[in-house]
């Protein structure tokens, strides 16, 4: 092994990612809070339709997609990319080089999200679910992703161990997955739209591949890295993870077309069969998680990141089961066009993915910056608020969704009565969203607090540097001494 590839100290690797991670997570935390505020307003509109109804910007049809996209593109993707960058650097034992590129890319990304969200709110969205960002936003986002993924791949390519740890398969696959699906969907739906029913099929395919496959790849890669690390137990096991990886990406990518879809019947049938096959990777992932943390749950329970990631993995398995149920034609009769679907999406996006990212960020950001969070006690509060929020959001909507489906199937019940019967469930879900918003605010406060602390330290360093010539033994003085020696 030559000198260039000498093993580095882990703190040096962490510090090399500092500024890109602060840029990615800072913006992500901002969009997370922004998205939860929009989502909360949208939710209130269900039981108070007059609330903020006079402003076209704040009508439901714009608020809900803006809230969804702020969570997905504003928080999930940049947070996932940041975590992937750090985990890949750690596993490769290689510091990040040329950090300026990911810093620029992170800012380009957040600028793209800003443009996209404003476009949705002024009524300029594309109209395709999860793909509402117009061209002026999707192009910068796409190139920002390419740059970040390229830099992550360069770190990966300079890795020390040739044999890969399971997390690396998942994260590298995710790096490639998004450019493929995002470019395909944008080209065929926005740039040169295909005709007729194929649009809906491509829309479902894209949403499924982003919300199910991409989030699972990044979330599981992160969980498989952190769970063994936080518990101190080995991952159980290499071969189970390998089996889960291949079966998951093989089956999950075919899901997403609902059973009642008005498309040729082979498409929804294939989706239903693939969803049933998804039970295998779900089972294997549950086994991997359980076997890995078995016996150390109690001792790790006081560890903030562990709680977040453990809860995330539970939500992954649960939302996977809900997805399989929704894809089954016999059950989907009671879940189609009800609140069951949004409940499942929220459980996967927030309960699984965002929670896993919170855990990872709480672990890695203090190491990357080299400072503690300003309010470490808020981590615990954030966890409980988010847990209660997810429970209050998902459980009522899922139960209410099934009841709604049963009522919709009954011709004796008027449609308006069915809708009215959902009101109590929607009120509880608003409470859940409020709890989640509070939790997200705590996250935001910690991230921004840490950023300010880091900037303050930089400022102090700078002042010390300016003052240093007056004091012997400082950086400048030693520099001067070096010059004298050389002379």
């Amino acid at each position: 092994m030559n000198n260039m590839f000498a093993k580095r100290d882990s703190s040096e690797i962490d510090r090399s990612c500092c500024i890109p991670l602060l840029a990615l997570f800072g913006g992500a935390a901002l969009w997370l809070v922004f998205g939860s505020v929009l989502g909360l307003i949208a939710s209130i509109k269900f039981h108070a339709p007059g609330f903020l109804a006079n402003c076209a910007w704040l009508t439901y049809g714009r608020l809900q997609p803006a809230a969804d996209d702020a969570l997905l593109y504003g928080f999930c993707l940049p947070a996932g990319l940041g975590v992937a960058l750090w985990v890949l650097a750690r596993l490769s034992q290689t510091p990040l080089r040329g950090a300026i590129v990911p810093i620029v890319a992170a800012n380009l990304w957040h600028l793209g999200v800003l443009v996209g969200l404003v476009a949705i709110l002024i009524g300029d969205g594309t109209g395709f679910a999860w793909l509402e960002f117009p061209r002026g936003s999707s192009v910068p986002i796409f190139f920002a992703y390419l740059l970040l993924a390229l830099w992550a791949m360069m770190v990966f390519a300079r890795r020390h161990e040739r044999t890969l740890y399971p997390s690396q398969w998942f994260l590298v696959a995710a790096l490639f997955w998004f450019p493929w699906i995002y470019s395909t969907a944008n080209l065929f739906l926005v740039a040169w739209p295909v005709r007729g029913v194929a649009q809906a099929v491509i829309g479902w395919w894209f949403a499924n591949n982003l919300l199910l496959v991409w989030t699972a790849l990044v979330g599981l890669g992160t969980a498989f890295y952190f769970l063994p690390k936080l518990t101190g137990c080995p991952l159980q096991s290499h071969y189970l993870a390998l089996f889960a990886f291949w079966t998951f990406i093989l089956f999950a990518t075919w899901c997403g077309i609902p059973p009642g879809a008005p498309v040729p019947v082979w498409l929804p049938t294939l989706s239903a069969v693939a969803a049933a096959w998804l039970l295998v990777p779900l089972l294997v992932i549950a086994i991997v998680g359980l076997r890995t943390v078995w016996g150390s749950v109690k001792s790790s329970w006081d560890n903030g990141p562990f709680c977040f990631i453990g809860f995330g993995l539970d939500c992954f398995c649960l939302s996977g089961l809900m997805l399989v149920a929704m894809a089954c034609p016999q059950i989907s009769r009671w879940t189609d066009f009800t609140w069951f679907g949004p409940a499942e999406t929220q459980l996967r996006l927030y309960g699984f993915f965002a929670m896993t990212m919170f855990g990872a960020v709480y672990y890695l950001l203090p190491r990357a910056v080299g400072m503690e969070f300003p309010f470490p006690k808020l981590v615990r509060a954030h966890f409980w608020l988010s847990l209660v929020g997810v429970a209050l959001l998902v459980v009522p909507l899922a139960i209410g969704g099934v009841l709604q489906g049963l009522k919709l199937q009954n011709p004796d019940i008027a449609f308006a009565d069915t809708t009215k019967a959902m009101l109590p469930f929607l009120r509880v879900s608003t409470l859940g969203l409020t709890a989640m918003l509070l939790g997200n605010l705590l996250f935001f406060v910690n991230i921004i607090g840490l950023t300010l602390r880091w900037k303050l330290a930089l400022l102090k360093q700078f002042i010390a540097f300016v003052k240093s010539p007056l004091e012997p033994g400082s950086a400048c003085a030693s520099l001067r001494r070096d010059k004298e020696v050389r002379a």
Partner: protein, 202 residues
Amino acid sequence: MSDESKSSTPQSPDAVLAVSRSTVPIWIIVLTLLLLFLGMVYFDHHGGWFNPQVYGPYASAEELELYQPKSGEAAILARGKARYDLVCGLCHGVDGLGKPGQAPPLAGSEWVDTKGIQRFVSIPLAGVGGQLSVKGQTWSLSMPAMGAAMSDADLADVLTYIHNSWGNKQGPVTADDVKAIRAKLGAHPQPFTGETLKALPE
């Protein structure tokens, strides 16, 4: 943080992130194969075989065909087939090949696949009893007058269907033909025997 002492050991902690090498249990492999098999069977039954014209809730092109409205000859044949499968197919088989020892074949039978329709129409109106030679084989029969209760039009459809299926290629039988022959046979005709049937003109 509380995990600091556990995770950052003196040497670089990610150098050897421990992974167990235990293998995948065999029952998971068996379960996977079972699910794959069942899934493919399900797709076989419900997938419409990638036919772009088959939409839910229909599962195949054949099923779809059943629900298509028909006109002209196709309508007569479809009606005739439905009635044949219900009334005649039990003994003569939906494939027209008959049942050994019970009912002679209709496909290529010298009593059926003929240009004249006198005998062909009379058989279901009166029934057949006793010995009858069909395609070189002697059958001992007791066929009731299965067609006597059908309307002229219905029986005409069934007979047209028989005349044009399983390799039989003859002209149509009209309701007027059936009406005329029914009138000639009278109200309660005796079942034919081989001899009386032969005595009829083709």
